[in-house]
Symmetry: C2
Subunit: 269 residues, 2 copies
């Protein structure tokens, strides 16, 4: 029987932070990744449009016969997870619930911060999910619209990145939070800078990495996990709607893969 892969979708390269954890924690699993780089960022777009784009990405990967779909983008999760989960027969996982759960697990003073795109912050999904679980938690949200473009342009190591992050997070530094959710899958690429600005006393939650624990739980629960004794090697295929060259530059450095196949994807536009 042919090995079925797990599908990952994101507005661009951010979901690669989720893929990196998948490659580490689930080395037997085949991975199909689609980044809608040509239409990135999703954050400032209207919810209805984000939902439509997310469905287009979903259809593209369903044709690859995936066994599970990970919406590795917070903005798309907020806009479309519920709808897509209801309509697909395979398990569908978003990144907001795993991040919320991990923050509740990690916080000691019950004060949690969330940084995310404007779309995710506007959806109020993080405070909603956290409060459904623990009504006593205090949640401070902050939109960081400048972060995604820093990552997508491959300038997340630059001095400009340091300056933008420091300025954006200034008000959060004195807010009393002890836990900060990186509520956008692009942000872990800025993690060292964010940690430096917030200080070591603040625990950063990488919602993407937490998502892989959930993926692994559901793979096991539904008996879909690939066993090590499978003779076929795991496949990793990457698709982008934008420049394959720029995608490859960022992805190969982040995932530490020298030889990788990046193909052009055409969605409905």
């Amino acid at each position: 029987m042919k090995k079925q892969g797990i599908g990952f979708i994101d507005s661009g390269v951010g979901g690669l932070t989720v893929v990196k954890e998948a490659m580490r924690q689930l080395p037997n699993e085949s991975i199909y990744y689609l980044g809608d780089t040509a239409r990135c960022p999703y954050g400032p777009r209207p919810e209805e449009q984000v939902r439509q784009f997310t469905w287009e990405m979903t259809h593209f990967l369903l044709e690859k016969d995936i066994k599970m779909l990970v919406i590795a983008c917070n903005t798309a999760t907020a806009a479309a997870l519920e709808d897509i989960k209801k309509k697909l027969a395979i398990p569908v996982v978003g990144v907001i619930l795993p991040g919320s759960r991990a923050a509740i697990k990690a916080t000691k003073n019950n004060q949690i911060g969330v940084i995310a795109t404007a779309g995710t912050v506007k959806s109020e999904m993080y405070p909603k999910m956290i409060h459904e679980k623990d009504a006593t938690a205090k949640v401070a949200s902050l939109a960081c619209p400048k972060f995604v473009p820093l990552v997508e342009s491959n300038s997340y190591h630059s001095p400009v990145a340091k300056k933008v992050v420091a300025e954006t997070l200034q008000n959060l530094q004195t807010s009393g939070i002890d836990t900060l959710i990186l509520g956008c899958t692009h942000y872990p690429l800025l993690r060292p800078i964010i940690q430096n600005v917030m200080g070591n006393q603040v625990t950063l939650i990488d919602s993407g990495a937490e998502t892989i624990s959930e993926v692994s739980t559901l793979l096991d629960y539904f008996d879909l996990a690939e066993k090590s004794d499978c003779s076929e090697p795991a496949e990793r295929r990457f698709y982008t709607t934008g420049s394959t060259q720029l995608f490859k530059e960022i992805a190969s450095e982040w995932l530490k893969i020298e030889e990788m196949s990046v193909e052009q994807a055409k969605l409905g536009f």
Copy 2:
């Protein structure tokens, strides 16, 4: 609609380490706990008998109309999870897979230790689950038959406990592992002593605590989680087949509950 609870079963008080995390991470959830203290320890018993006892506990809690069952005992998970999961209509969760997953996530040198009861070690479930996910991991298992009686007799703070733990783990100290799974839900009560013997460079994995992340994932996935806006308060009911007095002493200290109801349970013996 009446709130449905989550059922937890264990050979004795060990599963309370799982309940403690449930109370912290899932404060809205009602909890029904049964400890088969009268027949503890399960570790040295034949697999067939452990399976029978686990089914008896399961039937007892199914009568309380639980919505999910957590087999909060490694020995019982190894012997009976697969069988029980197959036959119940509600989700059933064990403690071995969550512990295995967390160890793979935590290890940096891919050398993982497992301490557990004789029954769990003999079942080889931990090495099997870890190797199914990552064939390259090195796993060292060690049975610690003296640990459970230390906890059940409420002597886990004693100097004897320190001596027993140090002697038992002696060989593991030089094994090169950087991650150690506490593969028995009783062991987290000995955690400070175990950490002290193994040194701070070894990450201890509390398989019970990890199980709650899995419980939370499945509650959300199947839309079974209690929301904070539910008007009924969460219930916590404890049952034991042994001394309610001794159970209450250990449980109230461990869970930091002053007033708790512990009732006598009668199983099929």
